[in-house]
């Protein structure tokens, strides 16, 4: 059996943070005595990822996802545990390893600020030792996929955020890494740019078989791209599997949006809904009801038969809502 591309076992990272109360007196006493606190940013996280997978890392801010990602990229030195990516130990930062991986940090730039993107790409090509003919071929392909030929000659500081993001992606991919770490890649981008980026990442993965690990707070990114998600909360891995399976397991209910004909019911009375139904919202004549998944069709039929319904829609609850309940501490009793 071949070794998985990413292998993580009981990975932990603890920081020592100095603590200090506010105020002058505390500042002065801190000169003599420093109080320290151990922050366990990542605790005993284990998972494996095969080559070619696209995996989403989910978790609230401060959960430890970026810390885990940085340990995978070799930027941080783990406190404990085993970690191997593409056959290398990341924190040894061997050049052969660094040439195989790429990290795009949503708010940090790889580009040299004052010169046109093309020049930055050329420098990066040298740093990553990409033969010039191969580099040009890859660049042309990327420029085409991202539709960015028009911006290549303008200094980077004059580009818009979306244009700079395209440059970041080219910078990250021009040496064809086998593993791509994307930390909030769609941060601050407009809707059409977000969609284009998602399509691009999916296509790139399909074309080159690169493994992609993505963190994002936009559920649309995760839903569109990641068949598998790993959820990290309070430094621990709480879920590893399919996103929709998680949603179904946690919130096996459906939302029924029922619009009643006002005239027939007589104004402000609450219509009579079946008892199993939970009313979760109301806006004028539209009621939002929560029903157990299995009972949804029967209850919908019942409502259609007994009430003067103008419109009825059956929906899945928003993924965001479910994820939020997890972030806020709902225990999962999973795995």
């Amino acid at each position: 059996m071949t070794e998985p591309q990413i292998f993580v076992r009981k990975l932990s990272k603890t920081y020592r943070v100095s603590e200090r109360d506010a105020g002058l007196r505390a500042s002065i006493s801190a000169l003599w005595r420093r109080a320290y606190r151990n922050v366990e940013a990542v605790r005993d996280v284990s998972f494996t990822i095969e080559a070619g997978e696209i995996v989403g890392f989910l978790g609230p801010n401060g959960a430890g996802k970026t810390t885990t990602l940085k340990m995978l990229a070799g930027l941080l030195y783990p406190t404990a545990g085993e970690i191997r990516v593409a056959g290398f130990v990341p924190w040894q930062r061997k050049p052969d390893y660094l040439r195989r991986i790429s990290m795009v940090l949503g708010n940090k730039s790889q580009m040299l600020w004052d010169i046109p993107p093309r020049d930055s790409f050329r420098v990066l090509g040298e740093i990553y030792r990409v033969p010039p003919s191969e580099l040009n071929g890859t660049l042309d392909e990327l420029f085409d996929l991202l539709d960015m030929v028009a911006i290549l000659a303008k200094p980077v500081r004059t580009l818009s955020l979306g244009e700079r993001m395209k440059c970041e992606l080219v910078a990250a991919l021009l040496y064809r890494p086998a593993v791509l770490f994307l930390d909030e890649p769609t941060l601050g981008l407009d809707i059409s740019m977000q969609r284009r980026l998602r399509r691009f990442i999916g296509e790139y993965n399909a074309r080159t078989g690169a493994t992609v690990i993505l963190t994002s707070h936009y559920m649309a990114d995760v839903e569109a791209l990641c068949p598998r998600v790993i959820m990290i909360n309070h430094g621990q891995l709480v879920y590893d599997g399919n996103l929709h399976a998680l949603a179904n397991r946690l919130a096996p209910y459906k939302l029924l949006r029922v619009t009643i004909d006002d005239d027939q019911v007589g104004g402000h009375d609450t219509p009579v809904f079946p008892p199993e139904v939970e009313i979760v919202g109301q806006e004028q004549a539209t009621w939002t009801l929560s029903v157990r998944q299995a009972e949804a069709p029967a209850i919908a039929a019942h409502i259609l038969n007994t009430l003067p319904v103008v419109d009825l829609a059956i929906e899945d609850p928003a993924i965001e809502t479910i994820i939020e309940t997890i972030y806020q501490g709902a225990s999962l009793h999973l795995t």
Binding site: L75, Y77, P95, L98, G106, I115, S120, E126, Y128
Partner: protein, 263 residues
Amino acid sequence: MNLHGGWALIKSTWMSWLQYRSFFFLLAFGWMIPPLVSLFVWSTAASEKPIQGLTQGEFVAYYLLFILINQLTYSQTNWTVGDSIRNGDMNRALLRPLSPLFSTLSTELAGKVVYMTFVTPVVAALALLFHPTLHLTWQQGLAFVPALLLAWLLRFFWGYWLALLAFWATRANALLEIQDALIFLLAGQVAPVALLPGPLQLLARVLPFRYMIGFPVEVLLGHLTGADLLIGFAYQCGWCLIALTLFVVIWRIGVRHYTAVGG
């Protein structure tokens, strides 16, 4: 060693920095002022008769050279490296298959090129105004080259290891302020080292600061005789080794301790 990559980075950083010429010129101008002040003071003081064997013209020569060499060896790693650790840019350097030393060297070279395009003509103009007395021999010139190179090396790595303290302390500024004061006193800026009072002169001869700026100036101007010259070089080499060792050790420990903040 990724030399191709390193060289490409150096060239592109150079191009980038040249776009901010006026900013760097102003900076260089600011750094020239303290030695210039010393130049005026000492040349005025020596206008009647020489002080400890140095004539007015020789003081002028000393300080004009001092300005040039100060600029050539000036350490900017606190803001290039130190800031990059504090604001997370170090992540970028650590992700590349290129030693971060190259990145620092590229900004170092870029800086020096830009500063010197300003400082050289200014010093030449000042030389025309103030008439330095210069008697250069080829032996002095020959000894000057290694003295200057070692001075650059020493000041670069000394500044580098201090800048790396940013891996631990978010603010190492106090240390740098102390260092600035020590350079002012002991590197030959407030007065040539030979003119410093007893205990201070001893300190200056033993600590690294003189070997960062004052020593190459003294070598070129022929202020040092055979034995003194050799002892000076010995100290300079010794401090270079210490600076290099400190740099390597602190880098290794620092990277492990690094918390990769900022994105």
